[in-house]
Amino acid sequence: MTFEYAPAPESRSVVDIAPSYGLFIDGEFAEAADGKVFKTVSPSTEEVLSEVAQAGEADVDRAVRAARKAFGTWSALPGSERAKYLFRIARIIQERSRELAVLETLDNGKPIKETRDADLPLVAAHFFYYAGWADKLEHAGFGPAPRPLGVAGQVIPWNFPLLMLAWKIAPALATGNTVVLKPAETTPLSALFFADICRQAGLPKGVVNIVPGYGDAGAALVAHPDVNKVAFTGSTAVGKEIARTVAGTRKKLTLELGGKGANIVFDDAPIDQAVEGIVSGIFFNQGQVCCAGSRLLVQESIHDELLDSLKRRLATLRLGDPLDKNTDIGAINSAEQLARITALAEQGEAEGAERWSPACELPSAGYWFAPTLFTNVTQAHTIARDEIFGPVLSVLTFRTPDEAVAKANNTPYGLSAGIWTEKGSRILAVANKLRAGVIWSNTFNKFDPTSPFGGYKESGFGREGGRHGLEAYLDV
């Protein structure tokens, strides 16, 4: 006999989504100058959640002016006072975390299990962490009196909407900058709820401005002459364009871009733990993670054994309603992203890799993609080189540690990597040779506000998190 899971939906009633939202500029919600709006949908059902004002160049300019106006007072506040605002924000996020988790799941499509247990706790922790720095900056190792930069223009992606907001806004405010933040066009809602949290916290007007919109709004923000600092998380292609835009200016730039992380499993690895790490590495958040372990490098001698275990484990993943507390795999964020994943997977097949997915029924509405793995993948295959940003794992093999390192580093990216082995010296030697900013050994996809995160090579530059994360927002 089999035991089926009963549905265990999280209640939607905890969140009240208004039919429309404005831009949040200078402490007020306002329509776009040209009156444009766009719809944001729930990726799991395609239901329209709300209609949001769409920022254009004029709105971005107004937001930057508001941030500039607020900068003088905000940066002049004693650090201990700025700290208290951030502590307030952190506390309110904790109080409203269930509401925000449900909201994020609705707008993004990721499972409630993840928003509830990963995104929201990390968001609150990030504000707590940087709140504590605000009155200790002279001890952070950046000189006796480090100064803020001014107005920070921040552009964030849709994969962790509120967490990416926290990574951007918390260090910026702690160091005395004011911000204009553009959330992604498919996930604007949690940033607008954050605007309400700023209101509840009594944050002075203009310190945080939220301008939902498309790429044109992001480009206008990055290019605005009165922006002193640009922080971007997103694709490598857009990152390069931004680097060209700020060339020749005094704007300080940090970029957190794509990845093609290698998860290396040696023959002495604890297989069951490695399988859990591989699954978390590529199927967490439907693989829409810049630091995903999207290339599995497995030592040849354990290839078959590991793949058998992995396939058994994938067959137990539950795909479906993201609000169901038992759901492991939610919806892909947008039709556009689904099309990209689909095309790359088809290319993988066409180039000769072997495709496998567990038996898995996809819902009829919404954007869905079954967990997929490819075996017989070579380094020349597109699916071994391009970032797919979806639940697609490419499996390659190696014989020696040197070969594993060479293959892992054979990419223009350098964000993350994983190492699975019981041998300590091998962990340290391989970790030392990998050209990546975050190395998870015998674990994967761990995040913490105290731990610097960011890439080597074309995965970007600058670090977010920890003491290191302050540098991006200080005049040093």
Binding site: G248, R250, I439, T443, S451, P452, F453, K457
Partner: protein, 295 residues
């Protein structure tokens, strides 16, 4: 005593531990501050720049993998070798920059002391900018600085020797390898520095010296896909912008030109951190639970 006819030196590039002429066969005239001829310097080509990058890449593994202590010893050795050739550099810097002997000597002394300063940094910077992170979970978590890789440097135009040393030493102290373009009008102290580096136990290819037109050779360096970072110290605004745009193609780390009033002032650590990556390594620690240990 009859006037002895002196022996001129042929100034050559320093690439991969060897002293080649420019593959292009070109030279250009270098004059002193009064316009009098001093020497012919190699007019490097794009091909010379690419050869230098190949040499720098080849040297990177061993240099970045050397112990910090060893790198410190070698940087100190550079200071020792320079001290022994102090008079030569005083003369070259005086000619290059139109300084009195005393002024030039002050520049050279400061440059020698700068090598000593950075020699001491090699095994300290990791403790200053790295460290353990107190993550909220049962994990060991350590952030360490690592060299970015191959760094192209447009050397300062006004300070032909002290400025040069001040931008090169921090790049290699942390384990990067460098390709630099000497000051265009006064490249001779830089080319002579190559001779010092060659006799200081510094592995060939760690520092590669090119002379010529920055506008000609810096562009292929900025666009080179195997260069990881670029220091624009000696580029004017127009060139700096052009190079920064080219550098975006593979997202090089870019250090923009900084105004420097006084090269003799003690530098901070910014020129080192500009060419350092941060690597963070996680590992479970295991934990003691109610039911016993998990390690």
């Amino acid at each position: 005593m009859s006037d002895r006819l002196s022996v001129f030196k042929t100034y050559k590039l320093y690439v991969g531990g060897k002293f080649p002429r420019s593959e292009s066969g070109r030279v250009y005239e270098v004059t002193d501050a009064n316009g009098d001829w001093l020497a012919n310097a190699p007019l490097s080509s794009r091909k010379d720049a690419r050869d230098a990058v190949v040499a720098a890449r080849k040297a990177f593994g061993a240099w970045s993998g050397a112990t910090a202590y060893n790198r410190g010893q070698i940087l100190y050795r550079i200071a020792e070798m320079l001290e022994g050739r102090r008079e030569q550099f005083v003369r070259e810097v005086a000619d290059a920059e139109g300084l009195s002997e005393a002024q030039a000597a002050a520049q050279v002394d400061a440059a020698i002391d700068r090598w000593v300063w950075y020699a001491g940094w090699t095994d300290k910077i990791a403790q200053v900018v790295g460290g353990g992170n107190p993550v909220a979970g049962p994990f060991f978590n350590l952030s360490s600085p690592e060299p970015t890789g191959v760094v192209a440097v447009v050397a300062p135009q006004e300070s032909s020797f002290l400025g040069l040393v001040s931008v090169i030493a921090p790049v290699i102290a942390t384990g990067n390898t460098a390709v630099f373009v000497a000051a265009e009008r006064s490249p001779l102290p830089a080319l002579s520095l190559g001779e010092v580096l060659a006799t200081s136990d510094l592995p060939g290819g760690v520092v590669n010296v090119l002379s010529g037109r920055p506008a000609e050779i810096a562009a292929p360096l900025a666009a080179h896909q195997d260069v990881n970072a670029i220091d624009l110290a000696g580029a004017d605004d127009v060139l700096a912008k052009e190079l920064e745009i080219a550098a975006a193609d593979n997202l090089k780390r870019v250090l923009r030109p900084q105004p420097v009033d006084d090269w003799t002032a003690t530098p901070g650590i910014d020129r080192m951190t500009a060419f350092l990556e941060t690597k963070t390594v996680w590992h479970p620690t295991g934990s003691l639970g109610a039911s016993g240990s998990s390690y």
